[in-house]
């Protein structure tokens, strides 16, 4: 698994999951880069696309459950921007699944590992499909 994944994580529950995974000694691939932000509501479609433009295969947005948001934003903004990014990706002819939004409860280290792994696998599948169809055409 060598997919480059950028994780934008909020500094609250999102980060706590990553922390928990580390404390429990649960490994995840070295090709995953984590960037910590105060809150996912500060992210816009531009930032997501920029990560992809710069070579990321996938972008994972990791945050709290909406009702847990410490900043009282309830994740509305991130949903709008997440949608925008997905739509722009389809306009560009790219798979909108290259962006994934995950909301985890605090300290769910296993959940984080699970999410990263399934995201990576999904990206892998997609890439294989694209490559094979690409060969045919």
């Amino acid at each position: 698994m060598s997919n480059k994944i950028v994780v934008f994580s909020c500094s609250w529950d999102g980060w706590s999951c990553i922390d928990a995974a580390a404390n429990a000694g649960m490994p995840y691939p070295a090709s995953v880069t984590v960037i910590k932000l105060p809150c996912l509501s500060g992210i816009d479609a531009g930032l997501i696309l920029r990560a992809l433009e710069y070579g990321a295969d996938g972008v994972l947005l990791l945050g709290c459950q909406p009702h847990e948001c410490r900043h009282g934003r309830y994740g509305k903004n991130i949903e709008i921007e997440f949608d925008k990014a997905r739509q722009l990706l389809s306009l560009l002819g790219e798979s909108s699944d290259r962006v994934r939004l995950a909301r985890l409860d605090a300290f769910d280290g296993g959940g984080f590992i699970e999410t990263v792994k399934s995201f990576s696998a999904a990206l892998e599948d997609k890439a294989r499909v694209t490559a094979s169809t690409g060969n045919k055409s």
Partner: protein
């Protein structure tokens, strides 16, 4: 290009230092520190280091200065070259909108993408494929997504333009994989990004045998007509603006209830090309509107306040506010634009601030015209 060549090409050495440019500059109105004259003078000085002056990023490219200049010094071109130099020297840009437009343009510049370029297209639009004439859509579909929160529907304008062409019996093809023209990257000094888009457009047009392009977007028109021949290898396509298609004006409109419309000139179509009448004719004869000129109109028209998705700050907002005030003062029902970006910027300005001008309805010219014709038919 080095400073000497830039000076020669932009005729900057003719600068008489008279200050007319600064006196009419819309940015200077709200930011007294910004002076086109001083930028040119700095470029002309021995140091020639005008490109590291942060002020070069404030210019909105409205061309008012050049129109007034005794020697037609091309300030906008000067600014663009300075921005290129500045970026070559490592300047990192601050984009508005989180840089989403820049990323989209960069991703469009990749060779192996396969865009969804027709998902938004209504079924009634007739496309003649293959053909030697293409309608250049521009970035309206992307803008619809990016500026969803503003509730603008920029594709309405392009669809309107295509309907007009359909009604006038002008056949056109659409490109499956049309790239952004690159206007904003070029004006922001990103020549690599621009050339990547240009190269892909040339390939696409060549593969489809397109000899002629019709477009309704003023910036696409300018870029394809003026910048592509200069900077893109292998460009050999005739470019016309939709208001240069005579058949359009033979259509009969004006069935709608008479509306009063304040027309906002785009800088590119207006001051750059001096095309003031075609759009107005469309508005009055096809859309059947009564034209209400704003205080600043035609050559003196005020810019929508922002150009290549950079530096949207208080100065830009004040320019936009002033423009909305002028539209409001006419008492018109609509403020009509012919440029998707003017529509975005003015709509945004109307929604922000104290909401004084939130009531101004800003619509696209071609949308309005096509609607009026459709109602007559129906």
């Amino acid at each position: 290009m080095n400073m000497q060549e830039i000076i020669r090409q932009t005729r900057a050495h003719f600068c008489l230092d008279c200050g007319k440019c600064t006196a009419v500059c819309p940015v200077n109105r709200f930011d007294p520190g910004f002076s086109p004259r001083l930028i040119v003078q700095k470029a002309l000085s021995n140091e020639g280091g005008a490109y590291d002056d942060a002020r070069i990023w404030s210019c909105v490219g409205c061309n008012m200065c050049t129109v007034r200049c005794n020697y037609n010094v091309s300030y906008v071109e000067m600014i663009r070259h300075l921005r290129m130099l500045s970026r070559e020297n490592g300047t990192e840009l601050v984009y508005s909108h989180g840089g989403v437009t820049e990323s989209v343009m960069h991703m469009m510049g990749k060779d192996d993408i396969k865009q969804d370029r027709s998902g938004w297209l209504p079924a009634d639009i007739q496309v003649k494929s293959p053909g030697d004439t293409a309608f250049f859509v521009g970035c309206a579909p992307y803008f619809d997504t990016i500026f969803k929160d503003l509730n603008v529907k920029l594709t309405d304008g392009t669809i309107g333009a295509m309907r007009l062409l359909n009604m006038a019996g002008i056949p056109f093809d659409l490109l499956d994989n049309e790239r952004c023209c690159g206007h904003d990257l070029l004006l922001a000094g990103d020549s690599n990004g621009f050339v990547a888009l240009g190269r892909n457009n040339v390939e696409e047009l060549g593969a489809r045998g397109i000899r002629k392009i019709i477009t309704s977007c003023p910036e696409c028109y300018y870029t394809l007509k003026v910048d592509y021949p200069r900077y893109v290898d292998g460009w050999n396509v005739e470019v016309i603006h939709i208001t240069e298609v005579p058949e359009i004006f033979k259509l009969k409109g004006a069935a709608m209830k008479k509306i009063r419309a304040a027309f906002h000139d785009s800088c590119k179509l207006g001051r750059h090309f001096k095309m003031y009448d075609g759009t107005r004719n469309l508005l009055t004869s096809l859309a059947g509107a009564e034209l209400c000129e704003m205080e600043n109109n035609r050559e003196n028209s005020l810019c929508c306040g922002a150009s290549p998705w950079m530096f949207c700050g208080s100065v830009n907002k004040q320019i936009q506010d002033e423009r909305l005030r002028q539209a409001d003062a006419t008492g018109a029902d609509y403020m009509v634009t012919s440029c998707p970006k003017c529509q975005i910027h003015l709509t945004c300005a109307g929604m922000s601030g104290d909401g004084k001008y939130a009531g101004i309805k800003i619509v696209d010219l071609y949308h309005l015209a096509a609607q009026s014709l459709a109602q007559k038919d129906g």
